[in-house]
Subunit: 357 residues, 2 copies
């Protein structure tokens, strides 16, 4: 029997917590019975929910009355959140009692706490938020989605390497096409850091293929598997995709109400609409990972229901089981050579004659 994949759950995070968390976790167990949970939350509210699922009988429960409110500032969470369900769940990963943590709670707090408690993988200057978006042909990995407002060329190169390994582990794309998000107009193309990153990436051995600059409309078109960008641009791109998908679906709904004939057609094609909606549904790809940390940390959407949370748990388990973090460690060790101080948060030292020199 294989070792179980142990995941710490912040049962109190998210708009629909703890219900969505516990129901979502129980559903994930049906799909991947190898998972074992450590659940952190308020006994009085969580225990009765856990009791409803026989499959959760093996879960280890840790009581704490504290939780991080959705609107708490990261700095306050660092100071006041020491006994929160989120913090204790992260601690469990740092202590080796779990391999990953999943939370639908306060994003800023989760990032701040996870960075502080877990620390970066050797060679990684800045952890990044990675997620996937739907495309004509499947899914596309994007990073950074908002952890780092401004990024230099080295950050972008590190994102490209982590994103490539993420695409292999999460989407099982063996040789992902990697692109730098840029704008099209000639000559003025690109910030300096993008040009510098492109120069480095052309020389960097990736487990994939660097295809150069990509424009934003190439993402939904499926022209690229890993899109690398700074956190400001990435976050805006993601929110634009979500907002536009909602707009299209609303326009469709209104159009289908516009005449009796359209209404009849809508009734007959109902299954097709559900199918289309499902392909754009953010819940289907719920789960953004904070990649580059010593431990798997997955953020589920704050407004998620049980179905979305299930997906986040399954993503976390898959990344643990595929050994994503070990692969990142190996890759950076190969690329950058031995790191002087074990590497945490240190700038990578290029080895003489190495690709980054």
């Amino acid at each position: 029997m294989p070792q179980p994949t142990i995941i710490a759950l912040d049962a109190m995070g998210g708009d629909k917590a703890p219900d969505a968390v516990i129901d979502g976790a129980a559903a994930a167990l049906i799909i991947n019975p190898n998972i074992k949970f450590r659940i952190f939350g308020d006994e009085a509210r969580v225990r009765p929910l856990v009791a409803r699922h026989a499959s959760l009988a093996n879960a280890i429960f840790h009581h704490t009355p504290d939780s991080i409110p959705g609107d708490m500032k990261p700095s306050a969470a660092l100071r006041q959140g020491r006994n929160s369900s989120m913090r204790l769940a992260i601690n469990a990963v740092a202590d080796g009692q779990a391999q990953g943590i999943v939370s639908a709670g306060n994003t800023g707090a989760l990032m701040a706490l996870a960075r502080l408690v877990l620390g970066s993988l050797p060679g990684i200057d800045r952890p990044a938020i990675v997620s996937t978006v739907p495309t004509m042909t499947g899914r596309c990995v994007m990073l950074d989605m908002g952890a780092n407002l401004e990024c230099d060329a080295d950050n972008l190169v590190q994102f490209a390497i982590m994103g490539t390994l993420y695409a292999r582990a999460a989407l099982r794309i063996q040789a992902p096409r990697v692109g730098l998000l840029n704008i099209g107009s000639e000559e003025m193309k690109g910030h300096d850091e993008l040009r510098a990153a492109a120069v480095i990436l052309r020389e960097t051995p990736l487990h994939g293929k660097f295809i150069g600059y990509v424009e934003a409309d190439q993402i939904p078109h499926g022209d690229v598997d890993v899109v690398v960008t700074d956190g400001f641009t990435g976050n805006i791109t993601l929110k634009t995709i979500e907002g536009t998908a909602k707009l299209c679906s609303n326009f469709l709904k209104e159009a289908l109400q516009s005449s009796p004939l359209a209404k009849l057609g809508a009734l007959l094609a109902r299954g097709a609409f559900m199918q289309m909606k499902a392909r754009m549904d953010p819940r289907a790809y719920n789960g953004a990972m904070l990649v580059g940390l010593q431990g798997v940390c997955v953020k589920s959407h704050g407004g998620t229901d049980a179905r979305g949370f299930t997906n986040s748990v399954l993503v976390a388990a898959q990344l643990i089981e595929e050994g994503l973090n070990e692969r990142i460690k190996d890759e950076f060790a190969k690329l950058y050579g031995a790191l002087p101080n074990g590497g945490t948060s240190a700038a990578p030292q290029a080895v003489e004659g190495e690709v980054l020199s």
Copy 2:
């Protein structure tokens, strides 16, 4: 009888030129008979097309065999394009022979030539590309869409003022809601220049209302009428909207082919789908303006057909007839006071006690 609105046409610009240009111009005349055209292009190719439309009998034709190729670099266009249809059409505006120019040609070349030949309006540091995107409740004005990669706070404030006046002139929204595009996550919110621009805008009298930061998903939702951002972010947001709309429509098409019932439903609801598609159709809002120049300069999409070009012409005419540029001039004169050198390309001088001091 009112003075005609005189528009110079680059008949040779765009993938479907000159046909789409001439047919589009003729169609625009039916909707707005007040327009008079000066047409610049290759006699042998353009004359026969013009002859097909009785309404174009009054147009003034200027022969030139030269045109700017779609892939020519802006710097080359400046050097080699002196006799091109695009350059001559812009010259006509500078000489007062036309009030505006419309081209579906090379964007970079058009921007470079228009900036050089027309010059900026007094008080404007950097012209910007402005366009509109569809929303749940109508349309939203966005700028900059790609003319300026990086923008400081003053640039963004100027964009906000120009965007507000554009929304009034082009969309007839009397008191537009103006927002700065930003990301959501607390504390780390925003680049420095965004914060600085927000501080200034809170104190600037706009013919509208500054509502602070907006996130990208609020644009399609219709929460804001004028979105202000740098050209890099704006271009990526626009391309993301276009790409995602295409993705949704493709998913729908595939879903509707997935079963006989769906196919029948699709047939009945055909009108509704057309209606939905029309609302997302880029041709319906074709025409990006390079705003802030001494003259109206509208860029039609390179791949546009006659219908899209018609729209670009109508937008240009409306902006001329609404006196957009005069309004911008007045507004900046009011806000910044008298400008030392007539103002072209100079940094605006804040008047003692004025809002920008």
